[in-house]
């Protein structure tokens, strides 16, 4: 394997007295698709939020593209333009049209011209299959459409890595597949992805690596085939049973 694009070493994170992450070490190779699962409160969201420093870690190190993220703001901002993030709650800008949501980052952070940014935006809207919604406002779209806009917004930054923080958890069941379809297509293009999700079908289909977390620790890390057929730990087995039961 080549030099990992994300390297996490002995990461620890506290919220007050609560330890959300303890001694987490992971690395993600270029083009690797990592799916992180685990019960709620296991630290999986905190972990991927540390990768673009929406949460600051208290101990350990995070490297993105070989650059350590920490105190240096400039390094952080440039790293953030390389790392796209999709949130559970979409977090689109409600006062901006879909097109303006997409062009804001490229124009302000990447200093593209309006024409370039608009071209980019239209291309990615095409890719998430909602080019006709460009002039609407987020509040006029369905949840599934909003999440696809959010994905397109991140892609407009042409990131090297995409982080997904439970991207389908806030969606109604019939809208989950339209978002997952877009994510599968993205995976097919060779994008490096870290995905926190409970969608085990998606995990089985696209993941190169499964990470199972519990109590702020990485409990298991293996291939999906291995993880789904024979989890190594008792905790992993119970989790899979619970999540696959229905």
């Amino acid at each position: 394997m080549s030099e990992p694009i994300i390297r996490i070493l002995n990461l620890a994170k506290f919220f007050g007295d609560f330890q959300a992450l303890s001694d987490v070490s992971l690395s993600v190779a270029v083009g690797e698709r990592m799916v992180i699962c685990g019960p709620s409160g296991s630290g999986k969201s905190t972990l991927i939020r540390c990768v673009n420093q929406l949460e600051r870690h208290d101990a350990g190190q995070v490297f993105v593209n070989g650059v350590e993220l920490g105190g240096n703001r400039k390094a952080l901002r440039s790293a953030r333009t390389d790392v796209g993030m999709v949130f559970q709650q979409f977090n689109l800008f409600p006062h901006l049209s879909v097109l303006d949501n997409l062009t804001l980052g490229p124009m302000r952070a990447r200093k593209l011209s309006r024409e370039e940014a608009t071209g980019l935006a239209r291309r990615y809207l095409e890719r998430v299959r909602i080019p006709e919604q460009a002039d609407k406002f987020p509040g006029q779209l369905s949840g599934g459409q909003q999440q696809r806009v959010a994905i397109a917004r991140s892609l407009c930054m042409e990131p090297k890595i995409m982080l997904f923080d439970e991207p389908t958890s806030a969606l109604d069941p019939e809208m989950i597949s339209e978002v997952l379809d877009v994510m599968v297509e993205l995976a097919d293009t060779g994008m490096t992805m870290m995905v926190v999700t409970h969608e085990m079908g998606f995990a089985r289909q696209v993941a190169d690596t499964m990470v199972f977390m519990d109590g702020g620790r990485v409990v298991e890390q293996s291939s999906p085939a291995e993880f789904f057929s024979s989890p190594r730990t008792e905790r992993g087995r119970t989790f899979l049973q619970q999540i696959l039961q229905h």
């Binding site: 440039s78 953030r80 993030m85 949130f87 977090n91 804001l104 990447r110 406002f137 917004r153």
Partner: protein, 292 residues
């Protein structure tokens, strides 16, 4: 509305039509309702004022003869007096508008440190707001006009002394309004901006402030009305605005009731116009983005 959206249709296009229908319905209802409410409120106010006026006239009628001729629009003397009174309008408006613009700018600049992680910046905000808010406006006007030139060794004219005092006094309130507005913006908006690599200024300018401004528009409108009324206090340092003009007329004609009644009507009309304008602005901004 989200719930209604989500149950409608399976295919994208079908869903859109359903949603547009729902939206237009809601907006049509809102459109119908807002002017109605506005109209009712205006009617209430307008109905109330003639009533009060009639009552006060009745009361004074018992005490002595009314001398409306001083402000009668029908006689040349009355016209001259009215013209004299209205001559103050320019300064009342100029004073309040200049002061509100300055106070909004100062207010915003004072509000931003309150949201900082730096305790010194937060401390600055707190001290500023608490001190300025504690000084009575009239006292501040007197201090700025009579005290500041001595302290700073500068000359300051009545107009700018008034503007400065009004703007300073109001800025503390504006700062609190902006702080509340900015803090009401969902954290997710900040995180989305961060993840797009936007810096502090871009984040504020394109994401936070446009949304916060919409939310604080009603209290800002309030402050504008407040400012128009408080500008009357600047009359004490000799600013020739509405109240000062009325006072001068009273001194000349000895008809306080008639003169001050006209003064009240002047403020009333001015403020009703401003209120209507603020409401119009609110509706215009609200109709631009439809929220789920």
């Amino acid at each position: 509305m989200t719930a209604m959206l989500k149950v409608s249709g399976h295919r994208d296009r079908g869903r859109d039509y359903a949603r547009d229908g729902v939206r237009d319905g809601v907006r049509a209802r809102d459109r119908a309702r807002v002017p109605l409410r506005l109209w009712l409120r205006l009617r209430l106010r307008l109905r109330l004022w003639p009533g009060l006026l009639a009552l006060s006239l009745l009361l004074t009628g018992c005490a002595g003869q009314l001398q409306w001729y001083v402000v009668s629009p029908l006689t040349p003397a009355g016209q001259a007096n009215l013209k004299f009174m209205l001559g103050g309008l320019k300064y009342t408006i100029l004073l309040s508008m200049t002061a509100i613009v300055i106070s909004v700018v100062i207010g915003l600049l004072v509000a931003l440190p309150a949201l900082s992680r730096n305790p010194i910046a937060r401390g600055f905000n707190k001290v500023y707001v608490e001190i300025i808010r504690a000084v009575p406006l009239l006292v501040l006007i007197l201090w700025v006009y009579y005290g500041l030139p001595i302290m700073m060794g500068i000359a300051i004219n009545v107009f700018w002394a008034g503007v400065l005092a009004l703007a300073l006094s109001d800025s503390a309130f504006e700062a609190e309004i902006f702080r509340a507005g900015i803090q009401s913006i969902d954290r997710g908006q900040l995180e989305a901006s961060d993840s797009l690599g936007l810096g502090y200024i871009d984040r504020m300018r394109y994401v936070v402030l446009p949304q916060a401004l919409r939310r604080v528009l009603p209290p800002l409108g309030n402050q504008l009305v407040y400012m128009l009324k408080m500008s009357s206090l600047v009359s004490v340092i000799g600013m020739e605005e509405l109240t000062r003009r009325a006072n001068e007329l009273v001194t000349a004609e000895y008809r306080p009731l008639e003169t001050y009644t006209v003064l009240i009507l002047e403020y009333l009309v001015l403020i009703l116009i401003v209120s209507a304008a603020v409401r119009w602005l609110e509706r215009r901004l609200a109709s631009r983005d439809v929220r789920s």
